[in-house]
Symmetry: C2
Subunit: 466 residues, 2 copies
């Protein structure tokens, strides 16, 4: 059987009058007294359903068609015709409806055709993609992921898969999971009584990475423009709407690029992917506006049309100190900006996305480039109205002496960084990069309030179901 | 500074006579007696270097330019002119050469401009992308990855990120790593004396996944056509040229698709990505032909122009039994085909890629669809001349009763598969999918003999360096 997709039909790619075969799942069935049934069929290729009009004359009408319920799988053969009814421009006049699979006991089917809470849906992560909400979010996720790849590929960046298993316990960006093949019932000990990791799979203590940045810098120093896009991990016991133990991150890294160049790429990337979502996932975004967040489309359009403001951290602190707003967390030079501060800057002061630059060195990582003032480093955060920080990045310290100084100041082990330091010994170049949390970006776009609803199978403390 | 890339220059995107600024790393320096130096500059954007002609009249000629060695980083400003010399059509007449970074002690620089063994290069995984070989392989890897995404996106597939951390110990495809946040010096015990995983991060024993297939099937049953493309793991102590502990895999899954439909997608995918590599990475492939495998381009071209042969496993066994070839592993119905058998079929018998279908159920996984003969399942392998198995897939068992029977026969725990079984209870559909090991595909394309040279930072037993 040669199938057409609902998307092809609804995008007008199939001529009226054509013979068509559509396979999918019934969303709803409505029976008319005139001896017809209307099946709304969804195949996941787009948000909207295709309507099939089924006459009682079909031989399996009584026995099968009238027993169809939500999520039954069917193949409909027929002719594509202009619709007489409201709500769709075309529909299938069915000449045959083949039922592939019924739903066992429709009364207890967990995804019945009514509204369920997101908390309820999470218990059925294997069935929730069949709902309008998760269908829309996951199609947006897909479009966004491919848009990220397309942006970088079109702009000469090379994708690099940095390793997830790492023996560097020196990343410092968060708590790490241990990866082991040791029998935990019988952990081998060394002669000092500690764990004998020499007997472990990798011959030493191995972890799941918290960032591909240090690794991808090595590739930026050979291919100039590179990016990672893959999973990262945090073993933090954070049960919040913004934290996952396993999440996807995109980390571009650019040689011959300073902090301003880095901010420019961040701005172009965000605008590019938002445009793609509005262009390619209009149907899903319209549903989001209707059911989740009435401002969703408007927010993206405003973002795309904004010029990013730019402000030094020091000036941003001044703005926060001088404004009338009462903040929960007190403002002073040297603090890490809190969400309330970030949102004030983006939403109330600048009324646009804003790049805050040159943060105090003491609140930032060792690898960020020291500014001439000796107090700040070339770090940047992109703050977006409605969410706060959406991107964090920096120019990297490319001067070996200054890098070593920071490694020592922060009490890190210089030897562990031998290969990272090599990049500064052999043809060092100015380079910059940033990190973009993929699920947080999806939350920003769709307005779903929790990153657990932005990834197919969320991993969080005490939860690795499915 | 507004940079152009070497690729833009060499692709003819920059007009002769233009002022250009190129940043990159010196590959070689050649000094002419006439008072010029020729710098071959590579920025990683393509295989070939751009030649810069530097006159002794530049103020830093004696002090800096004459000290440039392999991997020094420079910014060259000048005019793009037609080249007088051989080997390039255009070159930069430099008006300024800014040295960004010298190489500390060129005599001990590990990536000096000579041929190094691949084993040697692996010790410098952070510097090896600067070599011709690894540069070519990694650019091919990038082109291939994006081609995989593009193929699926253009054909209406949705990318799904399946979880890497899993609590299912029931995947059965290989040995799994444990993921834990327990203190291994002090593993908590339950009242039976076993490990108390309830105190672990996820509240139970968690692992790194060996395949996203079972998870992605849930999305195929909502979106029809989906694929994963991400890392997978094996805790197997296999020190071979074909095994990595962490590798990337692509797993498409298609609803309403039987085994033949599945084989068709596999054929289209491979041909599509090979075409993209030949089209977009011609320079890198020409280097591969010259230095690694003289048949590399020819092999792909033949593959693209082949019609895939199709043969039942039972008939393939007959062919192997009747041929004159002596095999190391004896042939009999029921065996798993060995590499020597696969290669005989593809290289000597069919002389083309071949799809072997319908394998004995006893050598295949529980989830493959039982054929009517009760002896074989709807599994397939795609065998390619020159390598053997390149893709493995199957139609999935979509009938609950038969699935349960197999789960029981194989001694698996039915309850653990509750969500997988749900797909067969609620609107079950025929569906199929396959797995494509990404690094093995790169090995096939490039002829590098070892998967460790097909991934930036290989993880293998006793090795998680960098």
């Amino acid at each position: 059987m040669s199938l057409v997709s609902a998307k092809e039909i609804l995008d007008g790619k199939v001529a009226i009058g054509s013979a068509v075969t559509l396979a999918g799942w019934v969303r709803t069935r409505r029976d008319s007294k005139a001896g017809f049934s209307f099946l709304a069929i969804n195949d996941g290729s787009c948000f909207n359903n295709v309507q099939a009009v089924v006459s009682k004359d079909l031989e399996n009408y009584e026995n099968e068609v009238l027993k169809l319920t939500t999520s039954c799988s069917v193949v409909v053969e027929g002719t594509l015709v202009e619709s007489q009814g409201q709500g769709q421009s075309c529909e299938i006049q069915a000449s045959a409806v083949k039922v592939l699979g019924f739903v066992e006991d429709p009364d207890t089917y967990p995804m019945s055709a009514k509204r369920h809470s997101v908390e309820y849906l999470r218990q059925y992560a294997h069935l929730r993609p069949r709902t309008n909400l998760m269908g829309a979010v996951m199609r947006i996720r897909n479009t966004l992921a491919y848009a990220i790849h397309s942006f970088f590929q079109e702009n000469g960046f090379m994708w690099v898969s940095t390793p997830l298993i790492t023996a560097s316990d020196c990343e410092g960006a968060g708590e790490m999971f241990t990866v082991t093949s040791l029998d935990l019932n019988n952990v081998p000990k060394d002669d000092k009584g500690g764990v004998d990791y020499s007997q472990d799979f990798f011959g030493r203590h191995a972890y799941l990475t918290v960032s591909g940045q240090l690794n991808v810098e090595t590739y930026a120093c050979a291919f100039s423009k590179v990016y990672t896009f893959g999973p990262t991990f945090r073993a933090e016991d954070s049960n919040t709407s913004r934290h996952l133990s396993e999440f996807w991150m995109c980390e571009p890294e650019m040689a011959f690029t300073d902090l301003d160049g880095c901010a420019e790429v961040a701005e172009k990337l965000l605008k590019y992917v938002f445009k793609k979502v509005l262009e390619l996932r209009r149907d899903d975004m319209e549903f989001i506006v209707q059911r989740v967040d009435s401002d969703a489309i408007n927010r993206l359009e405003k973002f795309i049309n904004s010029d990013f403001a730019k402000v030094d951290y020091t000036d941003a602190i001044d703005i926060l100190l001088k404004c009338d707003k009462k903040f929960e967390y007190p403002v002073a030079w040297g603090i890490d900006l809190q969400s309330e501060h970030e949102r004030y800057l983006a939403e109330e002061h600048f009324k646009s996305p804003v790049v805050v630059k040159n943060y105090p060195k003491d609140i930032k990582a060792f690898y960020m480039r020291m500014n001439d003032d000796g107090k700040t480093v070339a770090a940047m955060d992109v703050l977006a109205p409605g969410i706060g920080e959406i991107i964090g990045g920096s120019q990297r310290e490319d001067r070996l002496e200054l890098l070593d100084k920071r490694i020592e100041e922060m009490g890190l082990n210089k030897d562990a960084y031998w290969w990272y330091r090599d990049l500064r010994r052999y043809g060092s170049v100015p380079h910059s990069g940033f990190g973009l949390g993929f699920e947080r970006l999806i939350v920003y776009i769709t307005g779903v309030g929790n990153v657990r609803d932005a990834i197919p199978f969320p991993r969080t403390p005490k939860n690795a179901d499915f």
